[in-house]
Homo-oligomer: 204 residues x 2
């Protein structure tokens, strides 16, 4: 928010433009949606010229990608913390799912960007610039694979992962997009409880 400690000479050289732009982008998207994000408006809001952002992001897509990766990073962190110490594989998977949904509820902007169509498709190059997305999904597939009864073949293990992801991602999407009745997800407690209930309908 507040301009970084040492804004050089109080005018030229912002000092922390990259982060300021990220924050402004999130704010803007919250107000106008992903499509409403404009580099010029973001620049305006942090008080720099319209071309300044290009010193930090090659193009608009890169800014979106940065927001997405920030989101995936936070998700991975939260999920790891939530699963930490839990032994039972089913419980671990549920803990991940719950955190995934909680994340979507608390960071709807990030979540929407993370799965936005506007995001450049991950290729070799993009993967470098957004490492966390891969990690987050690997974590999920691991947890899901471990949660199926032992002795199940690889194919069904993959299917189980898809089922778990579908359920979790579906619910999270509905929450982040505000498609569920407000009273159902108004406060954290109610939302958590509903999420838990929904995740329990999943039998792998």
């Amino acid at each position: 928010m507040a301009r970084a400690q040492r804004a050089t000479s109080e005018t030229y050289h912002h000092g922390d433009l990259r982060n300021a732009l990220l924050a402004a982008a999130v704010e803007l998207i919250a107000e106008r949606g992903v499509a409403g994000l404009s580099l010029r408006e973001a620049a305006r809001r942090v008080g720099v010229s319209h071309a300044a952002p290009y010193r930090h992001f090659p193009d608009r897509a890169a800014l979106l990608l940065a927001v997405a990766d920030e989101g995936f990073g936070r998700l991975v962190e939260a999920a790891r913390a939530a699963m930490d110490g839990i032994e039972d594989p089913s419980e671990r998977l549920r803990a991940y799912g719950l955190e995934y949904i909680r994340f979507a509820r608390r960071n709807p902007v990030h979540f929407r960007v993370m799965f936005s169509e506007e995001l450049p498709k991950p290729d070799a190059d993009t993967t470098d610039r957004a490492p966390f997305a891969t990690v987050a999904l690997e974590l999920l597939f691991e947890a899901a694979g471990a949660a199926v009864r032992p002795g199940v073949d690889a194919e069904d293990r993959a299917r189980a992962a898809v089922a778990a992801w579908s359920m979790t991602h579906g619910f999270a999407t509905l929450v982040a997009d505000g498609r569920l009745p407000d009273e159902l997800v108004a406060d954290e407690r109610a939302a958590d409880e509903l999420a838990r209930w929904v995740l329990l309908r999943l039998s792998l």
Copy 2:
């Protein structure tokens, strides 16, 4: 596709501009994504001037809305046909889900637009211009409500609907966005089978 029967005077007055624009829009979105849809490019592709689309759609959002409603219409039609004649409520719900997912696979562009963030939020006015969206969701909630064991209270019935929607919508979203490994959903048969398997993990 082909210009309507009587393109008046072969030049002025296209004859079926509205539909031509819809088709062009879908094509464009398939190539460049929803964000890549531009009224001017659509106009160019059907061979009219850049302002012609405004005679049929008040703005860009309206064109998107029309694509979405076309999609919801087709979905409702397909879902009704699929459920027709099936008695068992659980089977009916599964039939809907399967059709929902099949629709997403076969019409990924429509599906993405239908749930795109860019779509104007449904308010009283929009509902008039896009009646099918409501119908499609009502149909789902009915089917889900009927599928839970009798004697369950209203609250759990609503929860069940959310769970069913989450699972179905989640999987459909992953498919439409191409996030699942290609070999899993390459041909219709494999995709259907996987969808069935996934939907069977749902126990209401």
